[in-house]
């Protein structure tokens, strides 16, 4: 391997890693606020790419139908739970949030699509269509077992991923997509050609991590999310509703996943089931950060990207084997590094 090749591989790895970093940050965000290890984030990223591709092809994406179905389900569950707790007076709010809002988003996207919008608008449309999915899934799947153990939530999360893969095939079909590059610029740095897309990915990752930092440190909502992450009961006593904090975390997280999906779509061909690997690799990164640190997760994710890039140069068939085998030493390191209070397993 010459230094030229190494430089190209490294840059490639950083770009891939930056995409993973966005998903990894979302994963950490969800985990700290809700204790759910949200494996399906990768699927959200892949669905965004597929949505954008459909929009580019002037077809209305299957995401719309998916959101409508999930919204109906979530509304149904919310109505039942409100009836059970005798709080039907909250019904209008629930209806507007779980039914009208998602439907309005889908309707708006459908109308705008008629106008044959430019790329920038299509990007916004794709993100708009994708963001309601995770909060709705949260309401349908995780809210009823919000007090369960981390392991129970993880098991449910893995099952949910498989459901989403099936839904992906149903709504998007088996074809892979690759969208047009967002920019055709390129630049040369230290003798190595860097494509504009790569630059864009890295910049986007930096900007979004920065925005998240500002959000957590300088807004009240951000602080309430951090408080929930530290102590659910304590923050509840301070008037923060964990369920609401969870919804916000899911919204933010899926936005990050969506952005990463848009960024990766011009570089890699994305299929309905590509999300699993994206999600898991991001997750490896998140574990490097101990599932609690955002910079740690981002650095870990970039590390995974670089490793994958070099591994695929050595042996493209075994690159995934290498990446996932690496997770085990990382887990051991993390498990030793973090002090545990012994958690008893549910009877």
């Amino acid at each position: 391997m010459t230094s030229d090749i190494a430089a190209i591989l490294a840059i490639d790895g950083i770009a891939t890693g930056a995409v993973y970093a966005l998903v990894a940050i979302g994963t950490v965000l969800i985990f700290t606020v809700t204790r759910v290890i949200f494996i399906p984030f990768g699927d959200i990223a892949a669905f965004t790419a597929l949505t954008l591709a459909a929009l580019d092809a002037k077809r209305f994406p299957g995401t719309g139908a998916l959101v409508v179905i999930l919204a109906c389900l979530a509304t149904l569950i919310e109505i039942i739970s409100l009836m059970r707790s005798g709080e039907l007076r909250l019904l209008p709010r629930a209806l507007s949030f779980y039914l009208l809002l998602p439907l309005a988003v889908v309707g708006a996207a459908w109308l705008v699509m008629r106008l044959d919008p430019p790329l920038a608008v299509r990007l916004v449309l794709a993100l708009m269509l994708i963001t309601p999915i995770s909060p709705l899934l949260d309401r349908i799947v995780f809210r009823p077992i919000a007090d369960g153990t981390v392991l129970l939530l993880l098991t449910v999360s893995v099952a949910l991923h498989f459901a989403l893969v099936g839904l992906g095939l149903l709504f998007f079909g088996p074809e892979g997509v690759r969208t047009e590059p967002l920019t055709s610029l390129s630049t040369e740095f230290a003798g190595v050609l860097i494509s504009g897309q790569t630059m864009l990915i890295v910049i986007a990752a930096l900007v979004f991590s920065g925005l998240l930092y500002l959000f957590f440190d300088f807004t009240l909502v951000g602080k309430s999310l951090r408080a929930t992450a530290v102590n659910r009961t304590g923050s509840r006593l301070m008037g923060i509703r964990p369920a609401r904090a969870g919804t916000i975390a899911y919204l933010l997280g899926s936005l990050m996943a969506g952005v990463s999906g848009i960024l990766i779509a011009p570089v890699n061909t994305v299929f309905y089931d590509s999300g699993f690997l994206i999600g898991l690799k991001a997750f490896v990164g998140a574990i490097v950060g101990g599932m609690t640190s955002y910079p740690g997760a981002a650095i870990g994710a970039v590390g995974v990207g670089i490793l994958e890039s070099f591994a695929s140069f050595e042996s493209s068939a075994l690159k995934d084997v290498i990446v996932f085998s690496l997770l085990i030493p990382i887990l051991i390191w993390r498990s030793l590094a973090s002090l545990h209070s012994e958690e008893e397993i549910e009877e």
């Binding site: 099952a159 459901a163 149903l170 085990i328 008893e344």
Partner: protein
Amino acid sequence: MTRLHIQFAAILAVLCLAVAPFVLSPFSITLMNYIGIYSLVAIGLALLTGVGGIVSFGQAAFVGVAAYASAWVSALNGYSPWLGLVFGVVLTCGVATVLGVVTLRLQGHFLSLSTVAWGLAIGFLFGNVEGLGRFNGISSIPPISVGSIALVTSAQIYFLIWGIVAAVLFLGYNLLDSRLGRAMRALRGGNTLVESLGINAFRIKLATFVIAAFLASLSGWLYAHMSRFISPGPFDAGMGIEYLMMSMVGGAGSLLGGVVGAAVVTLLKNSVQDYLPLIAKGASGQLEIVAFSALFILFLQWARQGIVPFVVRYLPKARRERPQPAPPLPRRAQPTPGELLLKVDGAERRFGGLVAVNNVSFEVRAGEILAVIGPNGAGKSTMFNCLTGALRVNKGEIVFAGRPITHDAQSRIAKAGVARTFQHVKLRPRMSLLENVMLGTYARTRSGLFAGAFRLNQREEASARHEALMQLERVGLGDKPFELAGNLPLGNQRILEIARALAADPALLVLDEPAAGLRRQEKLRLAELLRSLRADHLTILIVEHDMEFVMSLVDRIVVLDFGSKLCEGAPAAIRSDERVQEAYLGGVA
């Protein structure tokens, strides 16, 4: 329901299974074969996840390792499938041992995540190794032959599969009812509990993990030689979660649940394949996994217990006989009263900048009751944890019965003769009083995996059972030995913990705040019990802050304050000591 009823039901079930292939259609027999093959994995998971509390997403990889190993031996190299079985089992158990040694020290969800990781890594390997046919798989795998009969049709291999399932269930239930099985069932109570009983928790976890992998390897071998063709598909991560689902649906923790779960999931999947096309034409393939995952999620949300435990609740309770007298278990040489038993010399423990225990020294003499007291935050619990090995001291030395134990693991200290109870009671609520106390005899008994599975341990078991009953009677809980520990009130739970500690035949009994949360009557009973134990020459160390309880009971008191030893002496002297009064009540102005 007596033992006879259970045996009758088992024989009936075996008969039904034996007759089935002569009655059922070939398609149904094939379905039954799949159920049997999946059952093996699910039984392993019931043991690993349900009993041991280790959630594994990677069992499908173990099935794959054995299937590929046997296919490689038989289809690619032309040897007998039986050699394939040996190779498959050895390879799978070897891989499991290595993975277990590396990962089983991980905690909680980290451990489960590591199973996702190696499950995926091994799964990818099958499709990417040149010699294993890549994604095309390996075809023309020979059938298994028994003598001169080749098991080609599904009715033929049926008997082999279900014979193995029946044997595994029989041996598995034997194992769970043995010394090792009780240790496995204690794993869910947490490492501290298991280690305090003199059990090496890591080794028990490893044994459970390898047994589950062994069952998966049997399943993989049968699968390869039944379907005669393998490809990476049936061993991927999706199948891993399906196995987990089977064991959870059947009822995690119940071996029979593994079989029931495998049957329910397989039949359900089959009917989903049959009926979905009627509902949604053309989309059935995609909807199958969606319907399936959705059902699993609903199940986890609403019926986590599983089918078998649900049904068992409505069956009549098993009636069991009181254990008969049996030869006693060997006892350890007890120290002579008055001899130095435990010596703590200059112990220091820091947490970062905080010195929780600072240069504390004291001695415990055989036959006395010594109390370590002090206000909140005095370092009592830290001192206690250092004594029992749950924490290590940074400086100083602890000598027990003439042997330094400063750097020993918890289980070794327990084996040396230190038995403890817990401030927050740690019992196994779903095990009977008798079984909880039998846990205490672990370090005094020997029988292992094979003795347990094949019931070669009956003499030792009888002795252990009798010992447990005697200890229950000694503490006054002997009237209902088969009651579940979780049904006792708190006071009796503490007393049950003492019985469990006594069953270990300890030289020193260490009690962590035994009076905390007890009502007055319960405290009096507890004090009475401890006095009777002292009369039997047992040495007791109590960490406590209930002054009234301590003053009337103990021989000597060590007072800690802010991590340091304040003073030491007889109760009356401590009561009148000004420094103690100041520490507890504040200075006299």
